[in-house]
Every structure is written in structure tokens, then in C-alpha cells.
């Protein structure tokens, strides 16, 4: 019975807890305020990716507000879809219901983008995704969906081109991680490699597999010249370790999901020599990027992760367009859609512009390589593969 009384006693404490956590988040003050929403996985299994993006956006908004020359205030609204398509419509509706939301960054994942883009289209609210890379999203006629990232076709093709053209691999194992992203990327890589006359073995290793040693054995038993891993760094880390243990000595390559400093942290020296493609330009050398990384770490006590910088760019780009519209009189949802469609913006990671379907125009893929403790820029795949 002891516990029952404790539960009774706990009620006043719980009330205290609500009082403590409930407060915070004051008013933003007077003047015009526009809200930018982010739709992505802010809880659930893929929360880390959502958090990377959210932090990038928050940082952009804070910096823009702190700049002081906007003439208005930007506010951040999180909408959580848990990375699941069925939660996405409700999440989108939340952003739409709030009338001062003028733009949405996201949906972060392709599945949710597929269900939410229609709702955003009907509401005339722009949905600018910096990470949903499934190619067919821009072909479905979603009116306000813009993609601020090259789709999987570009990156998969880049991987295939480099492996067949430069490495001259004859046999490649392509491994996906059974996510939307991984499968899309691996499909394109597989198709293009086969088209270039390379023998391809396709394998799948679902995310969060408890033991990667069997998967590594499966790769090495095929004796490939090269490996393409289409997935995120959380899984590429242990996979790289086990590949090294299994004695894999071919060329290992992965995409932008792995192009992250944490990959090196997780894989240790097993990550040495991995090739990483990315639609992002040489980010490590520019001062602006360094400053971004430093600011980010200071603010959130962790290093920027996959898509942090891309989301930062997307937010900055939207804020810039809002600013232009604001100076011209007022910001409306539809006007912002049109403005963004026509916009050109040079961000940390790449230059942004869209074609008439809302697809990202700049489809250049760049190559990086893990060397020691860092990821080094190699050049654009087109130039390298000749």
C-alpha cells in the first residue's frame, strides 16, 4: 500500500511539474511577425534527423532576428509528423490553421511529403523541403511543393558515374537501409551502374540492425571491387567497422546521409578512405560554414548533423524573400510561393533555384573523402569521372 500513498502524494508534485515546464516562451513583442513552420520528425524513431533540421532553422531565425534590419520578427513553429505519412496531414493542417504561418520548411521525409503536399497545395502554403529526395514528388503536380535539394536520381547517377568511370569497378555491391531515402538512392545507383555494364549485387540491411557482422560477411563473400551504402551515418558507422573486420578492401562509397562528422566518430579509423557524395559544395573551407558550425555548436551543444546546414539555408532563403515582400507592402502565402519559385539564393551549401515543377535546378554532385579525422573535398563528380 506504500506505493498507493506515494501516488497520492505525487499529485501535488505533478502539478508543480506542470507549472515548472509549462512556463517559458514569452510574447515576441510588438511589430509585424511572420511565422515559419518546420514539418518533420520531432518525435518518434527518427527524431535525431528532425532535430538536426529544426536546430538549423532555429539558428537561422535567431540570427535573422538578431540582425535587427528586418523590420519584422520571424517566429518558429514546429509541426511534428514523426516521419510517418499518416501523421503528416494532421501536422500540415496545424501549420495551415495558424494564419500567421507564411511558409513551411519540409516535410522532411518523402513519405510524409507525399501526403502533406496535397494539403499544402490546397491551402496555398509553400512547402519547401530540404531533404525529401524521392524523384517522383515533383511530378505529381503539387502546386506549392518546392524541393531545395537535388533528388536521388542525381546523386545515384553521380555515384554510378564515379564508380564506373573513375574507379573502373567491375563488381559493385549496393546496400540500402530499407528507408525511403536509402531505397530511392540505391535504386538509381543500381540502375545506372548496370547501364554502365557493371555487375551489381543488391542487398538490404534495415536500419538499426543489432549486428552488422553478418551483413559485412554478405558483402565480402561477393568479393566486390566497390560498395555503395545508401543510408544514414548512424548505421554506416557500425557497418564500416564490421566491414573492416571482415577484411573488405574495395572502394566504399556512401551518400549525403553519411556525409557527416559523426560518421567518423562512430566508425573510428574504419571510416578512413570512404568516399562520400553530396549535392553540397565544398563547405569545409568557407568561413561562413565554419562560423555556422561554431554558432550551431555553441547554441545546441552538439555538432551540426545531416541536413542542418541545408535547413539553415532554406530558412535564410525564405526569410530573405519575406523581407522583400514585406518591403513591397505585405506578405501573403500565395505571393510567397511565387516569389520563392522565382528566387535565386546562394547559401552555405549550394545555390538555390527551382524549375517550373518546383524541382531543384542545380543537379551537380560533389565528392568527398574521409581522411584521418576529417572529410576532405575532392571536386565535382563530373570533373573527377571525366
Amino acid at each position: 500500500m506504500l506505493n498507493k500513498t506515494i501516488v497520492k502524494l505525487a499529485i501535488p508534485m505533478a502539478v508543480g511539474a506542470l507549472a515548472l515546464t509549462g512556463c517559458g516562451g514569452g510574447d515576441s513583442g510588438s511589430g509585424d511577425a511572420y511565422k515559419i513552420a518546420f514539418q518533420g520528425p520531432l518525435s518518434g524513431d527518427n527524431v535525431q534527423l528532425g532535430q538536426n533540421m529544426e536546430n538549423g532553422i532555429k539558428l537561422a531565425i535567431d540570427q535573422a532576428n538578431a540582425g535587427g534590419d528586418l523590420g519584422f520578427e520571424v517566429e518558429y513553429v514546429p509541426v511534428d509528423d514523426q516521419g510517418l505519412p499518416d501523421k503528416a496531414t494532421a501536422a500540415a493542417q496545424k501549420a495551415i490553421d495558424d494564419e500567421s504561418v507564411v511558409a513551411v520548411i519540409g516535410p522532411a521525409f518523402s513519405g510524409p511529403a507525399d501526403t502533406a503536399a496535397e494539403v499544402y497545395g490546397a491551402a496555398g502554403l509553400v512547402a519547401l523541403s530540404s531533404s525529401a529526395t524521392r524523384p517522383d514528388l515533383t511530378t505529381k503536380g503539387y502546386e506549392t511543393f518546392l524541393r531545395a535539394v537535388p533528388n536521388d536520381s542525381a546523386q545515384g547517377a553521380g555515384m554510378a558515374k564515379y564508380l564506373s568511370g573513375k574507379v573502373k569497378a567491375e563488381k559493385v555491391v549496393v546496400v540500402d537501409d530499407k528507408t525511403d531515402y536509402g531505397i530511392g538512392l540505391a535504386d538509381v545507383a543500381e540502375k545506372d551502374l548496370k547501364a554502365a555494364g557493371v555487375e551489381v549485387v543488391r542487398q538490404s540491411v534495415p536500419q538499426k540492425t543489432p549486428d552488422y557482422s553478418a551483413a559485412a560477411k554478405n558483402v565480402t563473400k561477393n568479393k566486390p571491387d566497390a560498395l555503395v551504402y545508401a543510408g544514414y551515418y548512424q548505421d554506416a558507422g557500425p557497418f564500416a567497422k564490421k566491414l573492416k573486420e571482415a577484411g573488405f578492401d574495395g572502394v566504399a562509397m556512401s551518400g549525403d546521409g553519411t556525409n557527416d562528422a559523426q560518421f567518423i566518430q562512430l566508425a573510428g579509423d574504419a571510416s578512413d578512405g570512404w568516399l562520400l557524395t553530396c549535392p553540397c559544395t565544398d563547405a569545409t573551407k568557407e568561413d561562413a560554414t565554419k562560423k555556422f558550425a561554431a554558432d550551431y555548436e555553441k547554441e545546441f551543444k552538439q555538432a551540426p548533423g545531416t541536413y542542418s546546414a541545408e535547413s539553415y539555408d532554406a530558412a535564410m532563403m525564405i526569410i530573405e524573400e519575406i523581407k522583400k515582400l514585406h518591403e513591397d507592402g505585405g506578405v501573403e502565402r500565395q505571393a510567397l510561393v511565387d516569389a520563392l519559385r522565382a528566387a535565386k539564393y546562394k547559401g552555405l551549401t549550394k545555390e538555390f533555384s527551382f524549375d517550373d515543377k518546383g524541382e531543384f535546378t542545380n543537379q551537380t554532385i560533389y565528392l568527398y573523402q574521409v581522411k584521418g579525422e576529417g572529410i576532405e573535398y575532392q571536386g565535382s563528380v563530373d570533373e573527377l569521372a571525366g
Binding site: 502524494l9 511539474a17 496535397e118
Partner: protein, 465 residues
């Protein structure tokens, strides 16, 4: 070890060293100061305070593993929580008389009117019908007044899960079968909808309207339920649980891996509901409310059918099986057939929910049928009060709504932490659920008094310490 006789033996050896030798019994009976209830309560409250501090404290990062722990244990917050804990404890211990009399007072005041309401409720059938009609009207038209966001949540999540919970209630609440793979049938329903509307890579013989898929999905799930159930239903409670869990995992992985048939992780796009009768046609589009009314029709229909079943021979047979399977079999109840029936009925309800779900969201992938959902639906049913339709309705609606609502109050990442804590507290406080059925309440009371097990999934005779 804790065998008391042995410590008594030990007492004999130790006694020379103690100045005032105690008898073995006295030693056993002696209560040290920290074993007194009062101090144990203080200890528990302080532990609770530390836990609450961790729950509401700093967000950790992988960059610096110790950050959150360091902040939580050095900051002012911990002392605030500890102070609250000590204050609550002091009030409870030293002002117990005053507070308890106040509580009793309010109880007495509220007991009078409540009792009268209960009498009126049980005496007059018209009152019951009137209230039910009013509730139904509120359910049907009430949501028109809320934000569109909540309408979406109501359809996509609450209504669908209410339908699922009603189905699972038949399996677990009435027949007492522990099914941890319920969402598998939900997936089968959704994929049936995709197949028969021609949205999968494999084409059906004839492409059908979503409404026509409903009976087919019911049939498919019925068959799937029987196929799974027939060989496994002779397994006892816990074994059945793991087999159904395995079945779920197999269905989920099939959906995920059989790319050529199910599109795998890429997901499937499905047409929405539409009616075309020539003279009348209607299409369900983006507005959530039409789906809501459709789902309410499904739910009301399911409740109506299941209530008829519960009060029929079938329902009584289920109760008999749940309370004592051996006795039921001995008195001539064909237990396997009735268990199979419950299983199949639950499965087909889940299938209907699957079709409705697929035709509402328009796009789904295997992640929508993760194993966690099977476990969650089970929690909804037990939380509300298994075996009781109002309880199950409330349980599902409340527990689906709560995490959405918590979003505004706590970090969305932590919502399920609070949900988990709530489940634990609820089960300690009200193991029978929020609105239990009368029979279930009696079964639990009997179990507490040590007369028989509460159900087939309850404690075996004489096992429970």
C-alpha cells in the same frame, strides 16, 4: 538469502556478542528506524523528486554524455524538487488529520448528488436513451466546432484507433486471448485496399471501389485470423502472445521486403473513398469531416453488432472461457471454436479499419504498421477497461488524444515518457481501467481475495505470491 528460519539459526551464533540477547522471533519482528513507513515514504518521495528532476531537467546531448546528469544534479532545480517532496511529506505526516478530514468532507458532499444521479440513471430507461442520443449527437456534430487540425487528428488517429480498440476488445476483453499482433490484420486490410483498387504493382482481376473492398478485406482478415488462430489457439496465454507477435513481425517484414508485390518501404498510394451510383456520386477529398462521419458509422455499426454478440450465447461462452477455460470445456463449451471466432471477428474489424485508413490517408508505408502500435492498442484497451465498450472507447480516444495535447506542454520528444508514466500509475491505481465492466470488476475483486484467476490471462491458481 531471505529464508527466515536460517537467520534464526544464525541468531544463535551471534548472540554471545550482543549484550542483550534477543529471542529469534523478536529479532525478526524488530523494525529498524528506516523501515518505519514514515521514513520509507520520505525516501520514496525523495527518489520521486530526483526522477522528476531528471524528467523535467536538461536535454542531454551525445557530444557531452554527462551534460544532462551534471546539470540536473548541480542546478537549483533539484533542490526545488527535493523541497517540494519534503513539504508534501511533512504535510502528509504531521497535518494528516486536517487534510484527511477535508478530503472526507468533499467526498461526502459530492457523494449525495452522485448517488442520486446513479439511481436515476439505472432506474429510468428513457433517461439513458436520452443521454445516449445527446452523446451521439455531440460526437457527430461536435467536431465541426474544433480546429481543422484537431479534425484531422480525430479522423487519422482517434477514430481509426477507436475502431481498432473495439476489435481488440472482442479478442482480449471478452475471450481473454492475449493478442500482440493485432496491427498485422490492420496492415492486411490496408494492403487489401491497395491491391483491390489496383494500386499495387500486382494487378487484381478487377479493380474495385474502396467500399466494395470492405467485405473482401473482412473476408481476407477472417481467413488470415483463422489460419493464424487454428494452430496457435491451443497455446496458453503467454505463448499465444509471442506467436501473435511473431505473426505481426512476419507480416510487417513481408510488407517491407516483398518489393515486387507491396512496393516495400517506398509505400503505396491509394485512391480515396468515392461513391458513384449513376444518379448520385460523391468523392471524399481533403476535408476530414466526411471521413469522420463515415468512420463513426463504422464504429457505431461495430458496437451494435458486438453488443448483440456479447449478450448472446456466444458472449456467454467467451466469458466462460475467459474465466475458466478448463471448466468451460468440461461443461461442453467448444472452446476452440469460440476462441477462433473471437480471434477472427477481431481480425476482421482490424481489417475494416485498415481499409478505412488506407482510403483516408491515401498513402502509407510499412512503418505505419510497426510492432509498437500493436502494443499501444493493447494498452488503450486495458487502460479504458477491457470488456467494457464505453471504457474501450474512452481509453483509445483519451490515450491517442493525450500525446497530441501534450505537444503543447512538453517537448514533443518526451511525450511518450509521460504516457509511459501515466500507464504505470494508472495500473497501480486502477488496474481494472477507467470505466470497467461490472463483470470484470467482480472478477478482479475475486482475484484480489484469492478466489480463482481473473481470466485466462490472469494468474494461475496459487501461483501469484
Amino acid at each position: 538469502m531471505s529464508i527466515k528460519t536460517s537467520s534464526a539459526e544464525g541468531a544463535g551464533q551471534d548472540s554471545p556478542s550482543t549484550t542483550a540477547p534477543l529471542s529469534a522471533a523478536a529479532r525478526l519482528r524488530r523494525v529498524r528506524w528506516y523501515q518505519e513507513p514514515r521514513w520509507r515514504r520520505l525516501g520514496a518521495l525523495l527518489a520521486l523528486a530526483v526522477t522528476l528532476r531528471l524528467m523535467t531537467g536538461e536535454e542531454g546531448t551525445t557530444q557531452d554524455l554527462f551534460l544532462a546528469l551534471r546539470e540536473d544534479f548541480t542546478g537549483v532545480g533539484l533542490w526545488v524538487w527535493l523541497a517540494i517532496a519534503v513539504a508534501v511529506w511533512a504535510v502528509r505526516e504531521f497535518l494528516a488529520d486536517q487534510t484527511s478530514s477535508a478530503v472526507e468532507g468533499t467526498k461526502k458532499v459530492s457523494a449525495g448528488p452522485l448517488e442520486r444521479v446513479r439511481q436515476v440513471w439505472s432506474a429510468d430507461k428513457r433517461v439513458r436513451m436520452g443521454v445516449l442520443t445527446a452523446v451521439l449527437a455531440l460526437v457527430v456534430f461536435g467536431p465541426l466546432g474544433v480546429e481543422r487540425y484537431w479534425q484531422q487528428v480525430l479522423v487519422d488517429q482517434i477514430a481509426i484507433f477507436v475502431l481498432l480498440a473495439i476489435g481488440l476488445n472482442v479478442v482480449i476483453g471478452w475471450a481473454g486471448l492475449l493478442d500482440l499482433g493485432f496491427i498485422a490484420f490492420f496492415a492486411i486490410g490496408a494492403y487489401s485496399a491497395a491491391y483491390w483498387t489496383g494500386s499495387l504493382p500486382v494487378q487484381p482481376p478487377v479493380a474495385l471501389n474502396n467500399f466494395l473492398v470492405l467485405p473482401i478485406a473482412v473476408l481476407t482478415c477472417l481467413v488470415a485470423g483463422v489460419i493464424l488462430g487454428a494452430p496457435t489457439l491451443r497455446l496458453r496465454g503467454d505463448y499465444l502472445a509471442i506467436v501473435t507477435l511473431g505473426f505481426h513481425e512476419i507480416v510487417y517484414l513481408m510488407a517491407k521486403n516483398a518489393d515486387g508485390v507491396t512496393e516495400g518501404a517506398r509505400g503505396v498510394k491509394v485512391d480515396r473513398f468515392s461513391i458513384d451510383l449513376g444518379f448520385f456520386s460523391y468523392e471524399w477529398k481533403l476535408d476530414p469531416m466526411p471521413y469522420y462521419w463515415l468512420l463513426v458509422v463504422f464504429i457505431v455499426l461495430a458496437i451494435f453488432l458486438f453488443l448483440r454478440l456479447e449478450h448472446s450465447k456466444v458472449g456467454r461462452a467467451w466469458t466462460a472461457i475467459r474465466e475458466d477455460e478448463v471448466a468451460a470445456a468440461a461443461t461442453g463449451v467448444p472452446t476452440v471454436r469460440y476462441k477462433l471466432m473471437a480471434f477472427a471477428i477481431g481480425a476482421s474489424t482490424s481489417g475494416v479499419a485498415g481499409v478505412a485508413y488506407a482510403s483516408k490517408v491515401g498513402y502509407f508505408n510499412p512503418e505505419n504498421f510497426a510492432i509498437l502500435l500493436s502494443i499501444l492498442v493493447l494498452a488503450y484497451v486495458i487502460f479504458g477497461g477491457m470488456g467494457s465498450i464505453p471504457g474501450v472507447l474512452f481509453g483509445a480516444a483519451f490515450l491517442v488524444w493525450l500525446p497530441e495535447y501534450l505537444r503543447e506542454w512538453v517537448d514533443p520528444k518526451d511525450r511518450y515518457m509521460y504516457l509511459g508514466a501515466l500507464l504505470v500509475i494508472m495500473m497501480i491505481y486502477r488496474p481494472q481501467g477507467v470505466l470497467p465492466s461490472r463483470r470484470r470488476k467482480r472478477e478482479l475483486r475475486m482475484a484480489e481475495a484469492g478466489v480463482g484467476g481473473a481470466d485466462a490471462t490472469g494468474p494461475a491458481e496459487g501461483r501469484q505470491p
